[in-house]
């Protein structure tokens, strides 16, 4: 089993993508096929960006075990007031900084759900958000 934790800081746009790039590298070394690898990389990058753009800070974890490849995130808040709204394409609360950098199209969570084989999200206002994704190895 492999487990790697990545701390992710709010507003750290200069390092955005480093965790996802490392995840992609690790999985490529394990021999994960390119189509699956791209799905995971996209979902990981969206996950990483979400923490940077929207949260007060948090972390991502990669686990590879017999069930498949698991990517999870937890953050320190502030939480998502309406998860179903946040899951709808095109809805975004990203600020001007994020938009200026090319983000905030409102595709983050929908894109994660689409790319993962299983997707779960839980959010509690004032506490934070947790996301769990599973990618099956075919």
């Amino acid at each position: 089993m492999i487990q790697t934790d990545y701390p992710i800081h709010h507003g750290d746009y200069t390092r955005a993508g480093e965790a996802s790039a490392d995840i992609k590298r690790q999985l490529r070394q394990l021999g994960v096929g390119s189509a699956t690898l791209r799905r995971i990389a996209v979902a990981a990058y969206e996950m990483e960006l979400n923490i940077i753009i929207h949260s007060l800070g948090g972390s991502m974890t990669l686990v590879v075990d017999n069930d498949g490849i698991k990517l999870s995130s937890r953050d320190e808040g502030p939480g998502i007031p309406d998860v179903s709204k946040a899951m709808s394409e095109g809805f975004s609360t990203a600020d001007e900084v994020a938009r200026g950098l090319g983000f905030g199209a409102g595709m983050g969570l929908p894109n994660m759900r689409r790319n993962a084989d299983q997707f779960e999200i839980e959010s509690v206002m004032g506490q934070g958000t947790q996301i769990r994704m599973l990618f099956l190895l075919t």
Binding site: Y13, T14, A16, G17, S20, A21, K24, S34, R38, R39, A41, V42, A44, Y45, E46, L49, L101, G102, F103, G104, A105, G106, M107, G108, N111, R113, R114, N115, A116, D117
Partner: protein, 128 residues
């Protein structure tokens, strides 16, 4: 179409990856919104954009893109170019607007990237 043909059609200047311009590309997408680009998962897609920051390269990395075209004659900063070079991307700048670049490439036979939604099979041609 080869990347060399793209260079020719757009009268572009290659900034990095000159030695790789003989490779074939099969489709293109065009956006300044990297979140939208991340929805286009197609290995050989060319990305045409007006955005020149590091996130363009990161997005290309996640999607295994092969070629970046910066419109309106924009040239990214050295660190962005070096990161692209490290990933083996071909990077060029074209002295035309994004609209004109896209129009010229379409006219030359390049088509929009198929949109693939996660686990779903790739769809048909997309107007992006």
């Amino acid at each position: 179409m080869t990347i060399a043909e793209i260079v020719n059609v757009l009268d572009a200047r290659v900034l990095r990856g000159e030695e790789k311009i003989a490779q074939q590309v099969y489709s293109a997408c065009c956006s300044d919104l990297m979140s939208d680009v991340l929805a286009f998962v197609n290995e050989k897609t060319v990305l045409l954009t007006g955005l020149t920051n590091m996130h363009v390269v990161r997005t290309a990395e996640m999607l295994d893109l092969k070629c970046l075209i910066f419109a309106r004659g924009k040239v990214p900063q050295e660190d962005v170019l070096d990161a692209a070079d490290e990933l083996g991307l071909v990077v060029m700048t074209a002295p035309k607007t994004m609209f004109t670049c896209a129009g010229l490439l379409y006219d030359a036979g390049l088509r929009g990237a198929a949109m693939t939604w996660g686990n779903e099979k790739p769809g048909g041609e997309h107007s992006a």
